[in-house]
């Protein structure tokens, strides 16, 4: 595999709202910018396929970036890094990027909690379903149930509905009281309130139930999911026939590149530690958007802009933006408080429930494990393809283990013929 070389002033990892905003701000101030994203289309999880407003803004932003000569590396993932250097892998080859400053806008991934039947064909992540819908999936004639916790459930349900699906139920495991409390805080954030009202209006015919957790998914004759059982706090159950079950239990920031590069992370694991300008503990390294704390699109956009300005040396120009960024962080804290899953409200596991999907490790095999390390070393849990990204989140919740602590090379599974270009991370005697 070949390895191309790229030099830039500012590298931006992620082409979602935060990354795009950062690239816009930095390029506007004359910096050479390269934006790197694993998807073929920019927009991250959030944009395109969603509200028309988002689609137009993204298209306009991308056109502007192209006009300014901002490089957009698509379908490319960071696999390792060193000071001022990144090794990336794409389908066509490897890339070595030498950069001045780096802005991490790596977004978030979903926390997924296991329950009996969650590995059945047709059970998909809510955010994952949204991305598939974004890429053109149509769901005419399909019944969809959405369950778990967090505002993403509503967004996914709405996107599914727009693609022709019949969404029979949105089950939110947080209790009604907490949802009400969250809703009562929304007027402090008028934009969010408007968004919530719009979403609810779009889903008026869809039952949205609180205090309802996943209990079991079952398959039909063909092996595809056909039914889901939900349970309330008193154990009363309800069944829904479905063709697709979309699940999600809130979002976690994507932190592996940040950790690898030595950034200090927040104690609560909720993001990279940053100052008001997005600067991390590593000089020249910034973080914006979900990576600095899950808080949605607006937070991402404004933090991206601030970090882009800061990275381009225009700290003074960020002044006016800081109060709004502050406000967005307060919203993020509110989101976290409302929707971080609580163990006692989460789906219950049976001994046979698969915990590690990659290696098919059921709960009972982890009974004697006292730590994450022991689970991995002795039971193969977390030692498969995803290297614990899925089961780690679940076990952190259920067992209280610290599962996100590792920093690894490669960050994602990488072809060996890409890996040999690791030598280029250390300047000097590169071949």
């Amino acid at each position: 595999m070949s390895c191309s070389h790229l030099e830039t002033d500012i590298a931006v990892i992620g082409a979602g709202p935060a990354g795009i905003a950062a690239a816009l701000a930095a390029s506007e101030r004359g910096a050479r910018v390269a934006m790197i994203d694993m998807m073929d289309e920019a927009g991250g999880r959030v944009w395109a396929g969603g509200p028309a407003h988002g689609g137009t803004r993204r298209a306009h932003a991308m056109a502007t970036l192209e006009g300014r000569g901002v490089l957009h590396l698509r379908g490319v993932r960071a696999i390792a890094g060193a000071p001022q250097r990144l090794l990336l892998e794409g389908a066509a080859g490897a890339h070595l990027v030498q950069h001045g400053r780096l802005i991490l806008a790596t977004g978030a991934r979903e926390l997924q909690l296991p329950f009996p039947g969650w590995t059945l064909p047709g059970v998909v992540a809510a955010g994952g379903l949204q991305l598939m819908l974004k890429s053109g999936l149509r769901l005419e004639g399909r019944r969809v149930v959405v369950a778990g916790t967090g505002p993403l459930l509503l967004a996914a349900a709405n996107t599914a509905r727009q693609a022709g699906a019949r969404v029979d139920c949105i089950a939110e495991q947080a209790p009604r009281e907490r949802l009400l409390h969250f809703a009562l805080q929304l007027p402090r954030f008028p934009d969010r309130l408007l968004q919530a009202v719009q979403l609810r209006a779009a889903l008026l015919r869809t039952p949205y139930r609180a205090g309802l957790r996943l209990q079991q998914a079952e398959a039909g004759e063909g092996g595809w999911v056909c039914r889901v059982t939900l349970a309330d706090a008193q154990g009363r159950t309800q069944h829904h026939d479905c063709d697709l079950l979309a699940i999600g239990h809130s979002l976690l920031p994507e932190l592996q590149l940040a950790a690898l590069l030595g950034c200090r992370l927040r104690d609560d694991g909720q993001g990279v530690t940053t100052d008001a300008f997005g600067a991390t503990s590593v000089p020249g390294l910034y973080a914006a958007g979900e990576a600095a704390g899950v808080g949605g699109q607006r937070k991402a956009w404004i933090e991206g802009r601030i970090a882009g300005l800061a990275a381009a040396g225009r700290l003074d120009e960020t002044e006016a933006l800081l109060p709004q960024a502050d406000k967005e962080r307060r919203y993020a804290a509110l989101l976290q408080q409302a929707f971080a899953p609580r163990r006692e409200e989460s789906p219950a596991l049976t001994p046979e429930t698969i915990v590690c999907r990659c290696e098919d490790v059921p709960l009972w095999q982890l009974a004697d494990c006292a730590s994450w390390r022991e689970a991995r070393l002795q039971q193969r849990c977390g030692m498969g393809h995803c290297q614990g990204r899925l089961c780690g989140g679940a076990l952190a919740l259920h067992r209280g283990w610290r599962t996100g602590a590792d920093t690894r090379i490669p960050i994602v599974p990488t072809r060996l013929d890409t890996f040999i270009h690791l030598a280029q991370l250390t300047p000097g005697d590169s071949p």
Binding site: R109, G122, C386
Partner: protein, 80 residues
């Protein structure tokens, strides 16, 4: 609306919208992407390159993530 193209999954031809993710196509067609270590069929799950449930062989290359791959005419996909 996207043009429809033909690709093959485990030898069978399918018509899918061009540019749709391969994972989306598998979901639409109700086809598993892989078989787990324990022998159970799996379909794309996280949709964003994390879980690995959508690993398929595309052409000669195994371990390709369907959720990060767009449907293109002539693609030859194997799930087992």
């Amino acid at each position: 609306m996207s043009a429809m193209i033909t690709l093959h999954i485990d030898g069978t031809p399918y018509r899918v919208p061009e540019g749709q993710s391969l994972a989306a196509a598998l979901i639409a067609l109700q086809l598993p992407s892989r078989v787990s270590v324990g022998g159970t069929p799996r379909t794309p799950f996280c949709g964003m390159g994390v879980c690995g449930e959508c690993r398929v062989t595309v052409g000669d290359e195994p371990g390709v993530l369907a959720c990060l791959t767009a449907c293109r005419h002539g693609l030859s996909v194997r799930t087992r």
